[in-house]
Symmetry: C2
């Protein structure tokens, strides 16, 4: 059935912008994050998306550049927090000052979704908006554009909550999964499926089953919907968040500063994830499996995939020497010389004020270490 | 037989200084060393003996303090090199300026023995001198004094080359061994043995055999002899070194500066170890097995014995945290925070300009790494 549609669209060949609805598309980049996984390289004030951790530019800037061909720059917004504000502004000089919105306190993805909805509605009440993370590594720009545009079209076609999901490459237990149902449409670009259900991070056994089916995808935290659809969904599934949405909206009537209003109200928003508050409950969810490569680079080990290795499998960056060692990742910032002798499978990261030495396996459990550091008299300043 | 002698001495109970020969005792501390084994803590200009690596004072200063009750301070000399001169003078304020002699270039222990002989002869032609390393950890001062005094007495009793040797605690392959022969005497303080032979660093199998016999000792590099005996021995076994001895001596006649003469001649001395040049050949060698604890603290692993461990066997010094790790040694100098997560048996040492991460096993092979560092554009300055 979706094949027919493809043919139809190709025949008509009408560019989207001239379609009757002439929808306004807004993209909101969620650039929060606490900088835990890449400590000591990343810090609370400079988490992963504000580092050139892969490539020469920050991941946030790479994200912005990926979006420039999808919507005009003035329709790209960034939600970040006060600690990261300066670094975000320095990193993304192409984004208008007023398009960078500061969360005064962290209130999870639910609140960010409500805020993004208000932002989009102020641009155009009939707008459709995409919410995208700032810190993913995606190299195939064209595949990305195709997928996001298919998601926009799906969101514009009716009262749907559209997610972009990731075809799994292995039974990852660190992500939530999305089970697809029947084919919904393809909008000439990418197949769009009805979603059966959202599932939380599974155990390994379950994850293996999911991957085998071919109908499960990773939940990549990318959402596309119209202002109207997300308002409806909040009203229906998360009335608390909906109340805040309308409160923010109402308080913005007149000449008040957008940022001032947010600062006044944001603290009273409930802390809920959008998955829990809405996606797991809604019946009108669609998904577009990504037509692009994707890596959330969630840990030091994941990072190894993105750098050249020496003949012993070591990734060596900066002023560092590995002797008689293999499969290590060794990084030094600045002039300090880091030397590694006879070790295997270690992460060694040196920064100006802190050094991390840990096994690849334990790199996933860095939060335990960060708790110890927070309690250490000299540790807090390094977080 | 040596029991009789003990009784005899005890009965006479004449203090040594009033004995007919009234021997003058000189101690020369050999404070050279290249600072390789404890890199990056130790450096060429500040090797192990110039660090408070065990205890609060430098090992050199601890050595001086151990000797203060054996000979007067003015009879303690230190041979060091130009790179270390300042640090030696700062470390040993109790030693007279003119008693610190600078080797202009390294010429191995043979040359140092000749130089020490010349130094002692200038004090008193009938002097006996002890040559002792600067970087050993010895806690039992009384046992040390007894042993050294027995060695002095043995050296004063005739034409002997006396070594202080170490009863082995394990089949160490990193040391040379000394096989004792019959009992020579005990001078009321410690048994003194005739030496059968010097053997070079053995393979493990040999080392095990040696330790089993009870007649093998570690060669600790501690020597005691009269000026006359060492002159004789050099003449007989190492004529090249003897020639230098007499050349230095002759050039010092008149009013020339001691240091100037050394600087002029030292470069032409042959590079020979005293073990190879003399000890392995001489027939008149005696040994006094140490009556004291002894540790040459030859590596990071050896150092672990001297520090308190946490409940997981970690030695943590300075600004450092170990989480979910065991049997590690982790050291940070200054304010830098070193964190270690989930590793076992590692040496992690952070200094201002260089960091080392290595396994306990490979800590012995640090020289391989240092070669790489010497070739590295940013490495040389850290040596």
């Amino acid at each position: 059935m979706h094949k027919q549609k493809t043919v139809l669209r190709k025949k008509i060949s009408v560019p989207l912008s001239t379609e009757p609805e002439n929808p306004r598309r807004i993209i909101v980049i969620m650039a929060g994050g606490r900088g835990e996984r890449f400590w000591p390289q990343s810090r609370t004030a400079r988490p992963k998306h504000l580092l050139p951790i892969v490539g020469d530019e920050t991941l946030l800037n790479q994200t912005v550049k990926r979006l420039e061909n999808i919507v005009p720059l003035e329709d790209i917004f960034i939600i970040t927090n006060a600690l990261q504000e300066n670094a975000v502004r320095e990193s993304c000089t192409s984004i208008r000052k007023e398009n960078i919105i500061i969360e005064p306190v962290g209130r999870d993805t639910g609140a960010a979704v409500a805020l993004a909805g208000v932002i989009a509605k102020r641009v155009h009440a009939g707008a459709t908006l995409a919410l995208l993370p700032a810190d993913h590594v995606i190299k195939d720009k064209l595949g990305f554009k195709k997928t996001i545009e298919a998601a926009f079209e799906a969101a514009e076609s009716g009262d749907y909550l559209v997610t972009v999901s990731i075809p799994p490459t292995h039974p990852e237990t660190g992500f939530g999964y999305i089970e697809r149902g029947t084919v919904h449409n393809d909008y000439g670009k990418a197949p769009v499926y009805n979603v059966k259900r959202f599932v939380e991070k599974p155990e390994l056994k379950k994850a293996k089953e999911y991957v085998k089916t071919g109908t499960f995808y990773w939940n990549g935290g990318m959402f596309v919907w119209s202002v109207k659809s997300i308002e409806n969904a909040l009203k229906l599934h998360a009335p608390e968040l909906h109340k805040c949405f309308t409160k923010l909206e109402k308080d913005l009537e007149g000449d008040k500063s957008f940022q001032d209003v947010i600062t006044r109200h944001y603290g009273s928003l409930p802390k809920l994830s959008i998955d829990y508050a809405v996606m797991e409950k809604a019946k009108n969810v669609l998904t577009v499996p990504a037509l692009f490569d994707w890596d959330d680079v969630g840990s030091w080990t994941a990072l190894m995939r993105h750098f050249p290795h020496d003949k012993n499998g070591n990734v060596v960056r900066g002023n560092a020497i590995v002797e008689a060692g293999k499969n290590n990742i060794v990084m030094s910032n600045g002039g300090h010389l880091v030397t590694v002798l006879g070790v295997e499978g270690l992460v060694v990261v040196h920064t100006k004020d802190a050094t991390l030495v840990c096994t690849m396996e334990k790199a996933q459990e860095i939060k335990t270490l960060l708790k110890r550091i927070a309690e250490h008299p000299e540790g807090k300043s390094t977080l």
